[in-house]
Symmetry: C2
Subunit: 399 residues, 2 copies
C-alpha cells in the first residue's frame, strides 16, 4: 500500500483520481502494491463527493504525514506549486507533476533538491500530455546521441491552424471555436503566443542535451500573425503551416532553441498531425527519426501520464530514477536567428524590389500580394535583404 496526496483538484487532479479508481487493478499490478489517495489539497470543501473526507485546505497536514510517500502536484503555475514541491521534497516525498511552467523554470533546482533528499521529481505529463516522451527520451534513447528534437507541442494552436487549413476559418473564428469547445482558455495568450510550447521545448531540450534551457533564452513567436492567405499560399507550395518548438544540438556543443510557425511539407509526417493532437520527432545519431504521437492534453490522457509516474515513483521509493540535467548558461545557447533555411515571404513589394534583394525567385501572385521562397539563409540576412520592403509574413520552411 502506497499513500499519495494530490495537490489541486482541477482538470488534471480530478483526472488522476478518476484514473486511479478506474484502472486500480492494472495499476496495483504494475506498481506491485495498492495506490491509495490519502489527502487532497483543495481550496474549498466537496460536500457529498466520495472523496469528501480526504480534502484538506492545509498543506502542512500532507507535509507532516509520514505515510505520504508521493505527492502529485496539479496546482499549476509557479508560486504555491513551487513552494509545496520544495517542502514535499525536503520531507523526503517524491513529487510527480504535469506542471511544465514549473519544470521549465525551476526543474534543475528541484531535481537537485530531489537528489539531495534521495527521492524523485517526475514530470512525464509536462510534455505531450499522455504521450510517453520523457521516459523514452531518458531511457530508450540512451544509446543515441540526440541531434535534434522538434514537434507540434500545443494542441490548442494546432486545432486553430487545422481549422484554418481544413475549414477555411479565420484565426479569430477558429480561436473562438476552440474556446467554445474548451480547447482554449478565455485568455489564450499562453497558447497562441507560443509560451506553452516554449516551456515544453525547454524541457525536451534539457533532457535531450543535458543542460537546462530557460524560457527567457528561447525566441518565441506564436500564431497570431498567421492568416488564411498564408494557409492558402502554403498549400500551393505543398505545405501546411504548423507551430513548431525546435531544439538543435550543434556540432560545436551549443544548443539552438526556438518556437515559431513553419511551413512543413506534406510528406513530413508531422504535417499530418491534426486537431488537438501532438507529434514529437526525435532525431538520434543511430536511430534516425522517431515520432511520438497522441493527445497532447485532456483530462484522462494527462492524468494517465501522471499516474504512470506515480507507479514509477512507487516502484523506486527507495531508489533514484535517472532523470537529471546540468544547470544552464548563456554561453551554451546558440542564437536561433543564425539558423539557416529557406523562408516563405508574403509581401506587397513590387517584382523589381524583390529581385533586387533575392534575385530571380519565383513569385506566386495573390490578391494584391505575392509570395516567394528564398534561398537558404539566416534571419539577419533575410531581414537585411528584405530591407524597406513591406512584409506581411516571413516563416521558416522546415527542411
Amino acid at each position: 500500500m502506497l499513500d499519495v496526496a494530490i495537490l489541486g483538484l482541477g482538470t488534471v487532479g480530478s483526472g488522476v483520481l478518476e484514473v486511479i479508481e478506474k484502472n486500480s487493478d492494472a495499476i496495483s499490478q504494475s506498481a506491485a502494491q495498492e495506490i491509495r489517495v490519502k489527502h487532497i489539497l483543495a481550496r474549498r470543501d466537496y460536500p457529498g463527493a466520495p472523496y469528501e473526507k480526504l480534502v484538506t485546505k492545509d498543506f502542512s497536514v500532507i507535509e507532516n504525514d509520514p505515510d505520504v510517500r508521493v505527492v502529485v502536484e496539479t496546482i499549476g503555475g509557479i508560486d504555491a506549486a513551487y513552494e509545496y514541491t520544495k517542502r514535499s521534497l525536503l520531507k523526503g516525498k517524491s513529487v510527480v507533476t504535469a506542471n511544465k511552467e514549473l519544470v521549465a523554470t525551476h526543474g534543475y533546482e528541484l531535481m537537485q533538491l530531489a537528489r539531495e533528499n534521495g527521492v524523485n521529481y517526475l514530470f512525464e505529463a509536462s510534455v505531450g500530455g499522455g504521450i510517453p516522451i520523457i521516459r523514452p527520451l531518458s531511457q530508450c534513447l540512451a544509446a543515441n546521441k540526440i541531434k535534434e528534437i522538434y514537434g507540434i507541442l500545443n494542441g490548442t494552436t494546432n486545432y486553430i491552424l487545422t481549422e484554418m487549413i481544413k475549414n477555411g476559418l479565420s484565426f479569430e473564428t477558429a480561436l473562438k471555436d476552440a474556446q467554445e469547445k474548451g480547447y482554449a482558455e478565455a485568455n489564450p495568450d499562453a497558447d497562441v503566443k507560443g509560451f506553452d510550447v516554449c516551456r515544453k521545448i525547454c524541457i525536451l531540450s534539457a533532457l535531450s542535451f543535458g543542460r537546462h534551457v530557460y524560457p527567457h533564452q528561447v525566441k518565441t513567436e506564436g500564431i497570431e500573425s498567421v492568416t488564411l492567405a498564408d494557409i492558402g499560399f502554403a498549400g500551393k507550395l505543398g505545405c501546411r503551416v504548423k507551430l513548431l518548438g525546435r531544439a538543435i544540438h550543434r556540432e560545436d556543443g551549443k544548443i539552438a532553441v526556438y518556437v515559431a510557425p513553419h511551413l512543413v511539407h506534406d510528406d513530413n509526417l508531422i504535417a499530418s498531425v491534426e486537431g488537438v493532437m501532438n507529434g514529437i520527432i526525435v532525431r538520434g545519431n543511430a536511430i534516425g527519426d522517431v515520432m511520438f504521437y497522441g493527445a497532447g492534453a485532456g483530462k484522462l490522457p494527462t492524468a494517465s501520464a501522471v499516474v504512470a509516474d506515480v507507479i514509477d515513483a512507487a516502484k523506486h521509493i527507495s531508489a533514484r530514477k535517472w532523470l537529471s540535467w546540468e544547470d544552464g548558461a548563456d554561453e551554451i545557447i546558440y542564437d536561433s536567428a543564425l539558423l539557416e533555411n529557406s523562408w516563405y515571404v508574403r509581401t506587397t513589394a513590387k517584382k523589381e524590389e524583390i529581385a533586387a534583394g533575392f534575385g530571380d525567385v519565383q513569385l506566386i501572385e495573390g490578391e494584391g500580394e505575392k509570395i516567394f521562397v528564398t534561398p537558404s539563409m539566416n534571419r539577419y540576412d533575410l531581414e537585411d535583404k528584405l530591407g524597406g520592403m513591406s512584409v506581411s509574413a516571413a516563416f521558416r520552411i522546415l527542411q
Copy 2:
C-alpha cells in the same frame, strides 16, 4: 565496468559493436559505468579486425566467464539462439535480444527462466526496430487498460506497398527492387507472407494483455495477393492498402489477433507511414490513441534499441525489471474471423449477383472488374454472401 558478450556478428551484432563504440560517452553516462564487449561468438575468424581477439567459436567460453553479466543474442531463429539464451540465463546472465521469432515462440518460458535466476530477458529491439515501444508499453502505459494495438510492423512489405502506391510498380517489380536495395531477403517469405508481422503482434499482444499468444494461434495473410488494381481502387475510396498486425482485447476478456492487408483511410495517420518505416498505434482507455513511428529495421536503429536494453540490464544487474506475462491458452483466443467490419471486394461477378448477396451497394467499375464496399459483417458472413461469386480480392477496411 560491465562486461558483455555478443552472440553472432551479422547486421545487428556488428551494429551493436558500432553503437557501443560510437556513443560510448552517452552510454557510460546512462549506464553509470563503462560497457565493454569482452567476447564475440562467431562462426569464423576476423583477422585484422579491431575486435579480432574478442572472437570465439566456443559458447562455453562465454557461458563460463563469470565477468560476463549481459549476453546480447543476435543469432536469430530458434535453435542455437534458444539453447544459448537458456544456458546464459541459467548461469545468471541477463540476455538482450532482437530475436522476435524466439520471443514469440518461447518468450514466456525464457522470462520464467530469467525470473528463476534473478536476471532479465529484454527484447526492446524485437518489435519496431529502434522505435521505443516495448518499454513505453510496459511502463509508461501502466496506468491504462490497453484495448487495442495495431500497426505497420514490417518495413519490407510497407516499402513494397508504398512503391506500388506511389510509383505504380507491380508487386513483383517492387519486391525485386526491395531485394536489390537490401530491404528484402532472397527468400522473402517471412516478410511477404506476414510471418514476421505475426511474431511481432504476438509479442505486442502478450505485453499489452498479459497472456502469451503463440504464432500458430494467429490467422496470417501476407501481401502477395495485393495487385495494382487494388491499389488503384483503394485510392478511389480515399484509402491506402497497408499490411497490419492487429490485437484486440475484447470486453469478455478474450484476445483477437490477426495479420492481414487492410484498406486504411487517408485521414488515419497510419496511412501516411511510408517506405520502410513502421508505425504502431496503442489504444488505451485513458490515453486514447498514441502512435510510435520510426525505422522498423536497419543496422543502427535496431542496434540502438539493443544497446538501450544493455544499458537497462546494466542498471538493473541485481534487480529484476517488470517485464512478464502469463502463459497462453486456446481458450483465451477469440476467432478473428468473427470480427466485424466493412470489406472491400474486387470481383468479376455481375451486378445482379452482387445485389443478390449484398443488396444495393455502390459499384465502381474497372477493366472487366468491379469493386464494392460491404456493410459491416464478419468473415464467415462475408464468405456466405459471396457464395459462388468469382472474387479476386477481399480486404478488411480499418474502421
